[in-house]
Amino acid sequence: MYLRDFYGKAIARIFVTESTVKIMTKETSLEDRFQQYVDGENKVEPKDWMPEAYRKTLIRQISQHAHSEVVGMLPEANWITRAPSLRRKVALLAKVQDEAGHGLYLYSAAETLGADRMDLIKDLLSGKAKYSSIFNYPTPTWADMGAIGWLVDGAAIANQVMLCRTSYGPYARAMVRICKEESFHQRQGYEIMMTLARGSEAQKKMAQDALNRWWWPSLMMFGPTDDHSPNSAQSMKWKIKRKSNDELRQEFIDKTVPQAEFLGLRVPDDALRWNEERGHYDHGEIDWEEFYNVIKGNGPCNKQRMDARNKAHDAGAWVREAANAYAAKQAQKKQSSAA
C-alpha cells in the first residue's frame, strides 16, 4: 500500500513535470514571439497564432463595441419622427443608419476570431453581454440629439481614433471605416447645439440642460480611472489599447471645453480649470458609484433599451424567415430549370 502510493505519486510527478515543461516552453516561446511581433507594430490577422486570452479579450471587447453601436441607435431613433426640419431629419436618419452599419462591421470583425454572430446577439438580448452605459440615459428633448452627437460621438471618436492603430487587423480596419463616418455625426450634433445656443432664451436653456445631463456620463464612457482598470495593462501590452482611459478622457476634455465656451454654454463642473503647468484642464471627481450602478443595470433606461431591442428582434423574425423561404425557393427554381 505504502509502496504503491509512493511509486504512484513519484511516477505521476515525473510524468507531469516533463510534459508540463515541454508544453510550457512551447507556449512561452509562442507567446514571446507573439509579443515581439506585436511590439514591432505588426498587425495580427485572423489565421495567425494568438494567445487564447488575446482572442477572448478581443471577442469580448469587439462584441461589446458592436452591441453599443446597435443599442446606441435607440436614444436617437426616438427623435427621428419629431426632428424640427427635413434637414435635421435626413441627417439624424443617416446617422442612426451609420450606427447600424458600425454594429455590422464590428460583428464581422468579431466573427473573424471564431465567434458566431447569433451567439453574440443572444448574449445581448438576454442581458448577459454589456454595452456602453451611456445609452441607458434618456433623451427627453431635441437638444439631446445635439449633445449626443457632440459629446457622445465625440468621446467615441477619441476612443475609436486610438483603435485605428489596434494590433488586430480586422478590428483596426473596421475602426478606420467607422472613424471616416463619425466625423459627420459629431458635426451635425454640434451644429444642433450651435443653433440652439444662438436661439431664443428657451432654446439656449434647453442646450444648457442637455450639456448638464450628458457631460458626466460622457466622461464615464472612457471607463474607470487607470488605477481601477485591472485589464488595461494587458490590453496595452498587446497593443489592443494604445492609450489609457485617463489619457483619452483628458484628451476629450481638453478638446471639448473650448467648444463649450464657443457655444457660450457652461460645463457643469465647478472644479474645471486650465492648468498652465500640466497644459491640461483639471476636472472634478467623477461619480463612479453612478457609473457602476448603471453598468449593473440600474440606469434610468436599461430595461427600456433591452425591451426595445428584444421587441425589434422578435418583430423582425418574420423578415428573416421570409428571406430564408425566398432564398430556398429561388435555389429550387434554379435547380429545376437546370435539370
Binding site: 490577422e45 489565421k47 495567425d48 497564432w49 443617416a94 443608419q97 451609420d98 452599419g101 455590422l104 462591421y105 464581422s108 466573427e111 473573424t112 458566431d116 454572430r117 447569433m118 443572444k122 438580448l125 480596419r173 473596421a174 471605416r177 463616418e181 423574425a317 428573416r320 428571406a323 430564408n324 425566398y326 432564398a327 429561388q330 435555389a331
Partner: protein, 96 residues
Amino acid sequence: MSNKDNWKIWEIFIRSRNGLSHKHVGSLHAPDAEMAIKNARDVYTRRSEGISIWVVPSESITASSPDETEPLFTPADDKVYRHPTFYDIPDEIGHM
C-alpha cells in the same frame, strides 16, 4: 431563436470606380447571393464607395496558412535578378 436565423457569411468585394480592381471590404450575413448584394449596398456603399459589388460565400474561399508563409514566399526573396535594378545600364541610355 433558431439557428436558421443564422444566415451564411459572405465576403464582399467592391470596385470603387472603373479602372480599379474589386477590393475586399469586409463580410456580412445573407440568405442568398442576391440579398448579400442588397445588404452590401447598404452596409458598404452608403457614401458612393463603389460602382460594382462581388459577393462570395466565405466558405468558398481557400486561404494559404500562415504556417506556410516561409515555404511559399521566401523563395522569391533571393531572386534579385527578377528586379530591374539588378541590371547595370549606363545613365546615357536614359530611362529603360
